[in-house]
Structures are given as structure tokens and as C-alpha cells.
Symmetry: C2
Subunit: 177 residues, 2 copies
DNA sequence: TGACGTTCGTTGAATCGTCAACCATGGCGC
DNA sequence: GCGCCATGGTTGACGATTCAACGAACGTCA
């Protein structure tokens, strides 16, 4: 349980730049879609459904595909169903299952939204970055994904360590990320 | 108003990898802090306050610094005040102003959280990525930030364009990001 | 068949964020 | 000093997300 390895000044600068930039980017993409009455998560649901055979997906598959909790997906799809973008059908082969299917108006909405969204992704991100740097981003987040999300070296779940720590009283700085 | 420039297959692959990886990363960092009863936004507030002179910041400065809306900050700081992490004082020089000040218990909480958080950032991100790729990420999101968030070529706010579009009926694919 | 554990999807409550007022104060022009 | 607008911060209502609990259907093993 050695002294934590803080980030170097330059690492910290880049990390904070990343956090801020990523936030900016997502806000912008959200705003782009807001004009069409869609949120980014909703848009992604439309995309996944549009790519599926018969524009239909089991709820569980859809949830995994957009990386939402099942509960969240239930709520979101309910709203989208009310809005007429999606229909629910019960699955013939598995009576527990529910099929979410893109309606025609849902597809039309996606056709409206897609060019706007893609333009936003380009204009706010892709076109700003060199190909090499973009590749680097791909590699980096590929590693993040394949790393799995497990926390390392947290055997116990301390829920308030209070482990005596020595000289903690250096200036206020260097507490950050 | 030419045909939208879709992403190439490789760009799309990287973009989706980024979205998924970024989500994974944030989830992991959130989980890391959850054990201490902190969320990531709360943690960042603690950090900013700890770095400020007298561990004190005007609400507006703090809001800007963590990139939250003022309203959101009011709510979050209220919760943190209830939890004893932060105190509010009215600003002597500007009677509209409110000063948020880190309490000692708030600082102690940060001292507990910081090593865990930094370990998460390293283990889940920084240490997985080569220095060169990490620099690339810094450059990329630097550009995103300095780009500003303005949407391009959206003169009007159509709020439902319905502009006649020609042959839109190619397969279900290529509607995505 | 029937008991058991698992997966599917939903529900309702609690929490968190957003949005549109709102009041109070400050700063500027006159 | 007096309008007038901009800024600082809060509030309450609403919307979205999380979380724990649940019922229903499946699969398997005996």
C-alpha cells in the first residue's frame, strides 16, 4: 500500500482537458438533436433498431447494445412509444420477451436526425482531429474497454477506510485528478 | 446543402469505440467513489475548492470551474452542505454573492477519496495508453474545446425541417454515427 | 411432473439534473 | 438620486436515471 502515484502535471492537464472537452462535445451533440425532440440516448436507440433485421430487437439486446440498464431502457422506450417512434410486440418464441420495433415515423425521424448528428460529430470532433490522433483515440478507448471495469487492489470494500495515513499535510494542491 | 458526409466505416468504428469506452471509464470512476459516498461531480467540487485560496470559491466561479449550471451547483452544494462537506457564507464584498467553503470534514473526505480516484484514473485509463496516444488525446480535446460549441450551418432553427429530400431509400444501414 | 435457479422485463420510489421564473444586488447613464 | 439592464443565486416543478423489488416465463435436473 505504497504512496499513491499521483498524475504528473502534464498528465493532469491532459486529463482535465479530456473531461472538459468530452463534456463540451456531448453537450453540443445533445443540442443538435434537441431541435428534433430527441436526446442522444434516444437517437442511439433509433440507430440500433434501424440497423437490426426487421428494425426489431429484443429489449435485452437493445439494452446491451446501447449500454443502458434494462430499467432505463424500459423507461426510455416507454416514452418513445408514447411519442410514436417505437412499438412493442411480445416475442412469439419466448413469452417473457418483448420486441421493440422502429415505426415508420421513428425511421423518418432518424432520417431527419442522422445528417444533423453526423455533421455535428464531424464538425465538433472528427474533422478537428488528425487521422493519426483519431486512430490514437480508437486505440486508447479500445484498451479501456478490454481492460474491463474491475477496480484493482480494492479487496475489501472499506466504505470508510480511516486507515491512519502519515504526513498528509502538504499544501492544498495535488489533491486533484 | 450537399449530401451529408457520412463517416467512413473506420471512423464510425472508432467513434463508437470512443463512446463506449468513455462510458465504461466514467462508470468505473463513479463506482470507485461510490464507496465513499461521493459522486464524480461532487468529487470535482471538492477538488476545486481544495485548490482555491482559503478553500473558498464564489458559487459562480465554482460553477464555471466544474462546468455545471448555476442551478445544478446550487442543488449539489445544498446536498453537500447537508452532508457537512461544505459551508456557505455570504460574500462581504458583494452582497449578492455566496462563498462556498470546504469544511475540515470535506477536506478529510477528499484526502480519503483522492488516492482511490487517481488510482482509478491510472488503472482504468492513463496507464493503459502510450504516452504518445495520451498526448494525442490532449491535442484532440483541446481542439474540441477551442472549437467552441457552435453548430455550423444551422442558420435557422428548423425545429422540424421536412425539407424534401431525394432518394432516401437505401438500405437500413448507414444511418448511424 | 415439479422444484430450483436464472433470465426477462416492468414497476415505483428516491435521487439527480434541467428549465423557467424569480428576487436581490450591482453597475452604468443621466 | 433614479431608471435600467446585467449578474448572482435560489426555488419549485418537471423530467430522466438509478435502485431494489417483483412476477412471469424458461431450463434443467431429478
Amino acid at each position: 500500500m505504497t504512496t499513491p502515484r499521483w498524475l504528473t502535471a502534464s498528465q493532469q492537464r491532459i486529463w482535465r482537458t479530456y473531461l472538459l472537452g468530452a463534456a463540451h462535445l456531448m453537450e453540443r451533440l445533445d443540442r443538435d438533436l434537441a431541435g428534433l425532440g430527441l436526446s442522444l440516448p434516444e437517437y442511439e436507440i433509433l440507430v440500433r433498431l434501424s440497423e437490426a433485421p426487421d428494425r426489431t430487437l429484443r429489449m435485452a439486446e437493445l439494452a446491451e447494445s446501447v449500454h443502458h440498464s434494462r430499467s432505463r431502457l424500459t423507461h426510455t422506450v416507454s416514452r418513445m412509444e408514447t411519442a410514436g417512434l417505437v412499438e412493442r410486440h411480445s416475442c412469439p418464441s419466448d413469452r417473457r420477451g418483448v420486441l421493440a420495433k422502429l415505426t415508420d415515423t421513428g425511421y423518418d425521424r432518424l432520417v431527419e436526425a442522422a445528417p444533423i448528428h453526423v455533421a455535428g460529430v464531424r464538425d465538433g470532433f472528427v474533422d478537428l482531429v488528425s487521422d493519426a490522433d483519431f486512430e490514437a483515440i480508437g486505440r486508447a478507448f479500445e484498451s479501456v474497454i478490454s481492460r474491463g471495469g474491475q477496480s484493482t487492489s480494492l479487496h475489501n470494500t472499506p466504505t470508510r477506510g480511516a486507515e491512519s495515513r502519515g504526513a498528509e499535510s502538504r499544501g492544498a494542491e495535488s489533491r486533484g485528478t
